[in-house]
């Protein structure tokens, strides 16, 4: 009995990794992402291909989640995502007093899908459509940690401020922390005065569809260098509502 449960868990983790990818993945990549031997993963993939959960364009090509099963991350339309997310983003802005961003992975950048102003009626500019660096924003770090795409090479880790992480080793360590804690923190790495928190917005099989962030001053989002508990709790709650609103849209 326990063996059956374990294989379901393993199959689910393979599916989650595949669903979060914006491209097909080969056996070695999948095995490394889920931390299992290649032989085990090969068996799981063969079974899932047999029941139609996983597809290959041709034998020996990479694997991806069957389109009919999910593929939410790739098939979810940004306009649908924005339409479903906006009421919850408005409420998050009102609850926290902070600017709210929603972004999706677009190859090697985080693309802003929706932007709700900081609710203080100061002059602000709508930034929808803007590309944000994956390694220097909270949104980007969530997307980097939780989705697969063109990974930035060492020379692409552009320096924006003296806080920008430009070392791959340090970045990988931080991304492991994001996966472990479920949120990412931005402390002046893109703009020196901007600080933020971001969490993943997940789809029906746990894949990361988008990232949701609150952005503000240091003292508004951080407590002793870590995510402040109140805005983080509001952010996690809002991301949950957004997930529930979009699951089933695609």
């Amino acid at each position: 009995m326990s063996g059956n449960v374990q294989s379901v868990e393993r199959a689910a983790s393979v599916l989650t990794v595949l669903a979060g990818a914006h491209r097909s993945m080969d056996l070695a990549e999948i095995a490394s992402a889920v931390g299992l031997p290649k032989t085990t993963v090969h068996g799981l993939l063969a079974t899932m291909r047999g029941v139609g959960w996983v597809e290959q364009d041709r034998p020996s090509a990479g694997y991806r989640v069957a389109r009919r099963l999910s593929g939410l991350a790739t098939s979810l339309d940004p306009a649908d995502l924005r339409s479903a997310a906006t009421p919850w983003m408005d409420r998050l802005a009102l609850d926290t007093g902070l600017e709210v961003h929603l972004a999706r992975r677009d190859r090697d950048v985080a693309r802003l899908v929706q932007h709700v102003y900081r609710p203080d009626n100061t002059a602000q500019r709508l930034r929808v459509g803007e590309a944000l660096p994956l390694h220097a924003t909270a949104l980007g770090k969530v997307l980097l940690a939780e989705t697969t795409g063109a990974e930035p090479t060492a020379d692409q880790l552009e320096t924006f401020t003296r806080f920008t992480v430009t070392d791959h080793g340090v970045l990988d360590e931080e991304l492991a922390g994001v996966r472990a804690e479920g949120h990412a923190v931005e402390t002046g790495e893109y703009y020196p005065d901007l600080h933020g928190l971001a969490v993943p917005v997940r789809g029906s099989v746990g894949e990361c569809l988008a990232a949701l962030a609150v952005v503000g001053r240091r003292d508004e989002v951080l407590e002793r260098g870590r995510a402040a508990s109140k805005p983080l709790a509001a952010l996690v709650r809002a991301a949950g509502y957004v997930s529930r609103s979009i699951v089933g849209l695609a």
Partner: protein, 516 residues
């Protein structure tokens, strides 16, 4: 946000809409605390007829209000005031003694009173009705429906003359039931009946004669934010302190309290209202003079209203009837696959052209087609149709009122469409702003109720609750705007008078079916 049980001061609003009845609770900071809603049945028993069941709507109120309270962990004791916003012009009659409905709710979409209106127009009353009520005689307004009921429902007129029958728009029906028999309406709803004198804000005796309405059936008219009695049911002990029509509620919720401030709600259709101050601007070019709101002891504030029949419904039409997109929001994604309309224009005159052109013979056209045009161009032209129709209404309002709004406050489902909102800013050459919370109808009812109950001291306090969530600045150069305006006008010319060319029987019904 731990709010102690003793410090809660919640304001409730009920939005009795065409599709559903909703209850929202707000705290004193104007924040939404909970929302519950329930849809009701919509019946179309004959072509042109549109009905709800008044008892079902009341029973939905009895469900959604307790649901909203329980979701918020609140009791009626936590609620300091209730405000009601409602679908306008829809109405019902009931028996005073029992509260039993004597008719279905005949909705604003229903055209069965056309015959009544034709007689009034034929008798030469049009100018008198317009002068007294600010609006022309039309089957869209409630008086014609009441006359139709009196003519049709057996024994109704005799009983009405004996004072046994109460008539009301939806807020009147709900206030009657909530309070256990107060028969009251508000001035914004009354301004949509064809019976209220726009200067005195009272029932006009000449209009009662023109429509042959027994005054005994009519509710008493109150200010928008006023004492409507205390709830005996649903929220026992809670005072009802505001009532207003839904579009006026949106104007209030957008805090358009200054002359020239304007809002446009982009839903199935689109409704533009501008605050024109303390003197009504007469209805012209299909624009309607209406009461914006009235506070007790203060002069009423008037609005000029322009409606666009087909806005979001054009997107629904290309989704459902054409299959251009799978979901309504995806029209933007499709439109963004191209950089302009490729010369293609859509004029959605599904049931004629409305303000400011008024041509019942017009029908929709898609023009400018070449082999170059793709589905992306078509999607762009669908969105541009809403922008141009808005521009034409705003320009007509400018002409009639002499006021050009400084910006446009928008709400409704289509405001998450950035391409459309940018296009609206571009063709209006005005900044467009979306507030943080787009449920402006419910917000407006709550603001008016809370103002009346002293939760908020004055209009300034409400102004400060308005928060900008997004804004779009005009970016189109004037040469492009002028060229596109000329193309749009040319396309509209092609739509005009279509029925004159082909009066085939059944075509009118088909076209009506598209919008129904």
């Amino acid at each position: 946000m731990s709010v102690g049980p003793h410090s809660r001061r919640l304001v409730a609003s009920i939005d009795q809409g065409t599709g559903s009845t909703r209850c929202l609770l707000f705290d004193a900071a104007g924040r939404l605390v909970s929302l519950a809603q329930r849809e009701h049945a919509h019946r179309y028993p004959r072509p042109g007829w549109s009905e709800h069941d008044a008892s079902e709507i009341w029973s939905n109120v009895r469900r959604v209000v307790p649901q909203a309270l329980s979701d918020a962990g609140a009791t009626p004791d936590d609620v300091v005031a209730l405000g009601i916003a409602n679908q306008r012009e829809s109405c019902v009659v009931w028996e005073r003694r029992t509260g039993r409905p004597l008719s279905p709710v005949i909705t604003w979409e229903d055209t069965r009173a056309s015959g009544v209106i034709e007689q009034i127009v034929a008798a030469g009353h049009t100018e008198a009705v317009l002068a007294a009520t600010g609006i022309p005689p039309a089957s869209y307004f409630a008086a014609g429906r009441l006359r139709w009921l009196l003519d049709t429902v057996p024994d109704l007129e005799r009983r009405a003359l004996r004072g046994e029958v109460a008539f009301g728009t939806m807020e009147t029906w709900l206030i009657w039931n909530l309070t256990g028999g107060e028969h009251l309406t508000d001035v914004t709803n009354a301004s949509r009946t064809n019976l209220m004198n726009l200067d005195s804000l009272r029932w006009d005796s000449d209009m009662l004669d023109v429509f042959d309405i027994p005054e005994e059936t009519l509710p008493e008219i109150r200010a928008t934010a006023d004492a409507y009695g205390t709830c005996a049911e649903v929220l026992p002990g809670v005072p009802i302190t505001a009532a207003l029509g839904d579009q006026q509620a949106a104007l209030f919720g957008q805090t358009c309290f200054d002359v020239g401030q304007s809002k446009c709600t982009f839903g199935t259709g689109a409704f533009f209202l501008m605050n024109v101050g303390q003197t009504p601007v007469p209805s012209r070019h299909g624009l309607l003079a209406t009461v914006g709101y009235a506070l007790p002891g203060e002069p009423p504030v008037f609005a000029l209203e322009g409606s666009i029949a087909v806005a979001g419904s054009l997107v629904q039409w290309v989704r459902d009837n054409v299959g251009l997109v799978d979901t309504a929001p995806r029209i933007e994604t499709l439109a963004r696959t191209v950089s302009d309309n490729g010369g293609c224009y859509v004029v959605p005159a599904f049931s004629g052209l409305y303000a400011p052109r008024w041509d019942a013979q017009a029908r929709g056209v898609i023009v400018g087609l070449t082999a170059y045009v793709t589905s992306g161009h078509l999607a762009r032209s669908v969105l541009e149709a809403t922008a141009w129709q808005t521009a034409e209404v705003v320009e007509a309002v400018e002409q009639v009122s002499g006021q050009r709004p400084a910006s446009l406050r928008v709400d409704g489902g289509m405001t998450t469409n950035h391409l459309l909102m940018q296009n609206v800013a571009d063709v209006l050459d005005l900044p467009v702003e979306r507030p943080l919370f787009s449920e402006t109808v419910s917000v407006g009812a709550a603001y008016a109720a809370g103002l009346s109950a002293g939760v908020w001291p004055d209009l300034d306090a409400l102004r400060r609750l308005w928060r900008r969530a997004a804004s779009w600045q005009p970016e189109m150069d004037s040469a492009t705007r002028d060229r596109e305006r000329a193309h749009w006008a040319h396309a509209v010319d092609r739509a005009r008078g279509w029925l004159d060319h082909d009066p085939a029987p059944g075509r009118d019904e088909q076209a009506r079916g598209l919008t129904g």
